[in-house]
């Protein structure tokens, strides 16, 4: 038996013997449970079985006892026996997991969960709560026993790390993405007196979704409106992100630092603040609108409410993500390939069209995919700016919480939304095809990049620089709003907003954090700092698994990882409440559920950036590391990670920033004790304290900017052993 298998057996036993099996009222680390460690609430599994009559937990002991038997009493000799031992390890892990969750769902806090089970065992008395540390650790140990056994049978080149990674990402994705989203989606089949597939068909094919009326003077269905917006935003943000990346990497642009800052700025702003700033700027009474009226007599209109406003706000919000994905890809393009093309008499324009652009495809495809998914799941901007332009996310939201609640309709719309996501996903995969985009090979690269053709240079300047102008205008408005009494009304300078939020007074008991924002800021920072590294870790791990390993059901798994990203956050939040409010996995009301929600909602950007980056790196690099005594883990750490540093930055930055600025997902998950900055800001906006809202946002922007710098410093630059760029 391998060392890892022994280790997980030991962990499993320790958890079953020592740790409280069920979740504790006061949490494990309050140590209140130590007062009565063998009582019904806090007892570990073995005591639960022996003393508290929870006999249905006993098979789990067996799952850990049998491998022990094979490890010590009947040590396997010879290949055939070793294989049998591996199979037994697999079976123990798999059956143990099935049993653990089966009994957890079957026996809940109010006894048996299912009607038929109650009929069968009418007099059954057992009750239990959500899994605690004991239960969770045992579940993890079982999972690793399963993958360990599997690896010993030679699956996936026998690399236990790779198989364990696949095990953990698949298991967690199923638990935290597929399960909650699935629970929402099955609602589409719910009718008043049961279930009906016909209802699904009706809800999904409803004419308000699909109508093509706009071609005949009426109005088009929501699907088409959503699609149009998503495609426009996806294309614009990808184009702008690429322009920024080319400007930063290939054109020797002088103000690199400023460029990166402004390219990233919109991502570090709560989206509704962008919407608000746009209204303050170009709304009917916006600063710019008034200016245009005064100077040129252009009468103020409400053009911003509807498609233009949403497209503007979303493009502003999502361009930074495209930039983060593209910058690594543009850097990764091999100069030698370009030089080779130049020596073949290609003109700069032809070179760009036939070599550079095609080599950027993985980046373009992934940036576009992310842009589309962001657009269709965005709720903040449409709610403020949509006007009468209806999109699916808004309809879903109001079908869930509006004046006419209809969960079935919401689920039907969500299915349509996911169908749209699936179509775009398939399209980008098809566009990428199975061509090779490898440009970081194990041969070093001595060339220097060819200059970009003049047309491209001009295009880049003329898109990126005006866009920076817009960004500056929007953020100047925000900064301005934080320091005046009432933006748009009373422009006298004041610091009172910041004082309200962040005052500190020194009193008798030392420093008193009297500002209103401290508590929510603390919680926000804490969740974000925990969630960001985990988000990046999981996202990149999944990217590695997806782009380097072959296993059955990979395509489906890849799509499932994006489900939670394509659905509006509010729906995810609500689905988390539905899925994790009852045993065996009871998380509502804890900070953990916030962290988990952030991780699984935001990891797709890490995945997409990772997939794009990995597609440029020659597989023989990992393989050579594997033959040089480095296992899967060491290879990832020493070869893969250093070569995909830009993707790590993208994943970390996005994970951090989203955890700090997301609103929709946390509406349902945040609680009184875990209140977040965004909910605080929204409350300010609702009570018309725009100055306070803007001041808080400005403070958040400053904090996030500092944290992004820290991330870049921590991760460092990627070295590709290339010559410096000459321009």
């Amino acid at each position: 038996m391998s060392r890892a298998a022994r280790w997980w057996l030991a962990v499993g036993w320790a958890a079953m013997l020592l740790l409280p099996w069920y979740a504790l009222e006061d949490g494990l680390f309050s140590f209140v449970w130590l007062r009565d460690p063998w009582g019904e609430d806090a007892a570990p599994l073995i005591v639960q079985v022996l003393r508290h009559g929870r006999i249905w937990l006993a098979p789990l002991l067996l799952a850990f006892a049998v491998p022990l038997l094979f490890a010590f009493v009947l040590p396997p000799e010879g290949e055939a026996r070793r294989r049998r031992a591996a199979i037994i390890l697999m079976l123990c892990g798999a059956l143990g997991l099935v049993w653990l969750f089966g009994q957890g769902f079957a026996i809940g806090a109010r006894g048996l969960s299912w009607g038929w089970a109650k009929d069968l065992y009418g007099d059954f008395e057992g009750r239990q709560f959500g899994l605690g540390y004991g239960g969770m650790i045992v579940a993890v140990a079982l999972l690793f026993l399963l993958t360990e056994g599997w690896a010993r049978r030679g699956a996936l080149r026998g690399d236990a790390f790779v198989l364990g990674s696949i095990g953990i990402v698949v298991a967690t994705t199923i638990l935290f993405v597929f399960l909650p989203v699935g629970l929402v989606l099955v609602g589409a089949a719910r009718v008043e007196d049961g279930w009906s597939l016909l209802a699904v068909a009706k809800r999904v094919t409803s004419s308000d979704i699909w109508s093509l009326g706009c071609f005949v003077g009426a109005t088009c269905g929501t699907f088409w409106k959503t699609l149009l917006l998503a495609v426009v935003v996806g294309a614009l943000s990808t184009a702008l992100g690429t322009a920024f990346a080319l400007l930063a990497v290939r054109m020797g642009f002088r103000w690199q630092g400023a460029l990166r800052l402004f390219a990233l700025l919109p991502i570090i702003t709560p989206p509704f603040v962008v919407g608000l700033a746009i209204i303050l700027l170009v709304g009917r009474t916006g600063a710019l609108t008034v200016l245009m009226d005064d100077w040129f007599g252009i009468p103020p209109t409400r053009w911003i409410y509807g498609f233009p406003g949403m497209a503007l706000a979303q493009t502003l919000s999502f361009t930074p993500i495209a930039f983060l994905i593209m910058i690594g890809v543009v850097q990764g393009i091999s100069p030698t390939m370009e030089e080779a093309a130049l020596t073949l008499r290609a003109s700069p324009a032809r070179l760009f069209r036939t070599i550079t652009l095609p080599l950027m495809r993985p980046g373009l495809a992934n940036a576009f995919l992310v842009g589309v998914l962001e657009s269709i799941s965005d709720l903040g901007n449409p709610v403020i700016l949509a006007g009468n332009y209806d999109v699916l996310s808004v309809q879903i939201y109001f079908a869930l919480v509006g004046a006419q609640v209809d969960g079935g309709r919401a689920a039907g719309l969500a299915i349509v939304l996911l169908g749209l996501a699936l179509a775009v996903f398939v399209l980008q995969a098809f566009w990428l095809g199975d061509r090779s985009y490898t440009t970081v090979a194990g041969k070093g690269d001595t060339g220097t990049h060819a200059p970009l053709p003049p047309a491209v240079r001009h295009a880049v300047y003329w898109t990126a620089l005006p866009w920076i102008g817009i960004t500056i205008a929007v953020y100047a408005t925000i900064a301005f709003g934080g320091f005046v009494t009432n933006v748009g009304r009373d422009h006298s300078f004041t610091l009172s907003h910041f004082v309200d939020l962040f005052s500190i007074e020194s009193g008798a008991g030392g420093l008193a954090w009297t500002g209103g924002a401290w508590k929510s800021l603390g919680t926000t920072l804490e969740t974000a700092l925990i969630a960001a590294p985990l988000t990046a870790l999981l996202g990149l791990l999944i990217a590695y698994v997806l782009s380097r390993q072959v296993f059955a059901g990979k395509g489906a798994f890849e799509f499932i990882t994006m489900l939670s990203f394509a659905i509006p956050g509010t729906v995810i939040g609500l689905s988390y409440i539905v899925a994790f409010n009852t045993p065996p996995v009871e998380l509502t009301g804890t900070m953990a559920i916030l962290v988990i929600c952030f991780i699984f909602r935001d990891m797709p950007v890490g995945i997409r950036a990772g997939v794009a980056a990995l597609s440029q790196i020659d597989r023989s690099l990992d393989e050579s590391s594997l033959t040089l005594r480095h296992g899967g883990f060491a290879t990832v750490r020493r070869v893969i990670l250093p070569l995909i540093r830009p993707a790590i930055v993208a994943a970390l930055v996005f994970g951090l920033v989203r955890a700090m600025t997301s609103l929709s997902a946390v509406i349902f998950l945040a609680t009184a004790r875990h209140n977040l900055s965004t909910t605080y800001i929204v409350a300010q906006i609702e009570t018309a304290r725009f100055g306070t809202a803007i001041a808080y946002s400005a403070a958040l922007i400053a904090i996030m900017a500092a944290l992004i710098l820290a991330i870049q410093w921590l991760v460092g630059e990627r070295r590709l052993g290339r010559r410096a760029l000459q321009t």
Binding site: E79, G444, D445, L628, L643, G721
Partner: protein
């Protein structure tokens, strides 16, 4: 230093979905020898090599390295290292870091690792290049770094996946000699994949010729050349004119072979009377100007190559390609020739 180990395949297959890349092959590589897997692209040679490395797992069968059954053992846990076609040098590390990479998991101190890496860089003639970036090396130098990186682990088995295919012809010849010398000097077991038969013959103790996932023939270079088992091997190793013939009779080990009106005596090699193929090496054909003799033909094409001449001859037994080392034999296109065969360079194979 680990002792060189044997590599043994027993009925190993590898399937990718419905495609059978390697179909139940068995062979043994003796310790300390260099064996080449040779064959056209798609014959399964690279898959076989990757199965030795642990980069592919066999669908069936067993693989042993030395005493150990490694069939299900992952690459990192095998005492094997590999030189890749693309070199697969790590672009984010310098030369020394690349060479020392595999030692990082050993119990050595950093200083010992550096010391050893430097020693092997010396062995491949790259002293003084330790701090260079990979991008700043020539193709040949990169190849040497890749070699040093694999050798420094002193593995039981060293694998080469078409290591020379990215080099020019002159450098290729020098590198292959260096590889052979190093392998002999270190007494290491090596498995080498190439599709270039000349390269294979130059470096190998033994060659395994593969075709469509099977082993066509395994033997020393001369065995393969002198006694190919079938048309494919005869043609692939050294190249040959494959001429239809008839075995008129077999006496002992000798067959009487009728070809185009002449009769030759050839080792029967297990063949019986009946139709067969005669593999005639290009250099085994002798041409004489003038049309007299049992077998005659006409020159269709003549090429002067400095070291030798090449002719294409139309003859009753079919088209013959001929290499003539005698530069004075200057036949012109259209000239009639008499055709005879030398003693060596002919082999009977099944049709």
């Amino acid at each position: 230093m680990s002792t060189p180990a044997a590599v043994e395949f027993t009925n190993v297959s590898r399937r990718f979905g419905p495609v059978v890349a390697v179909d139940s092959i068995s062979f043994r590589v003796e310790p300390g020898t260099l064996v080449t897997l040779l064959g056209p692209s798609g014959c399964g040679k690279t898959t076989t090599l990757r199965m030795i490395a642990g980069l592919e797992m066999p669908s069936d069968g067993a693989i042993r390295i030395g005493e150990r059954d490694v069939t299900r053992v992952s690459a990192a846990e095998r005492d094997v290292s590999m030189v890749f076609q693309s070199y697969a040098l790590f672009p984010h590390m310098n030369v020394l870091e690349n060479v020392g990479y595999g030692l990082a998991v050993s119990p050595m101190t950093a200083a010992q690792r550096d010391e050893k890496a430097r020693a092997f860089l010396r062995k491949v003639g790259l002293e003084g290049y330790e701090k260079r970036q990979i991008g700043a090396l020539s193709g040949g130098q990169q190849q040497r770094v890749a070699l040093a990186r694999a050798l420094v682990l002193e593995p039981q088995v060293l694998l080469f996946d078409e290591p020379l295919s990215n080099l020019d012809a002159k450098l290729r010849r020098r590198m292959r000699d260096e590889i052979r010398d190093l392998q002999r000097e270190l007494g290491i077991t090596a498995v080498y994949v190439t599709h270039d038969q000349e390269e294979a013959m130059a470096v190998s103790d033994k060659i395994v010729v593969m075709k469509d996932g099977h082993i066509a023939q395994m033997g020393t270079p001369d065995e393969l050349y002198e006694a190919p088992v079938d048309r494919f091997v005869a043609d692939f190793i050294g190249g040959a004119n494959l001429i239809d013939c008839e075995i008129a009779g077999v006496e002992g080990d000798t067959a009487r072979v009728a070809v185009g009106g002449t009769t030759l005596s050839q080792p029967a090699r297990g063949l019986r009377s009946g139709p067969a193929t005669l593999a005639i090496r290009y250099a085994a054909v002798r041409l004489q100007a003038g049309g007299a003799g049992a077998l005659t033909g006409t020159v269709r094409k003549a090429t002067y190559l400095g070291s030798h001449r090449e002719f294409t001859i139309d003859s009753p037994i079919g088209e013959l390609f001929v290499i003539e080392p005698d530069l004075s034999n200057s036949l012109t296109v259209g000239a009639p020739v008499a055709i005879t065969f030398r003693d060596r360079g002919l082999a009977l194979v099944a049709r």
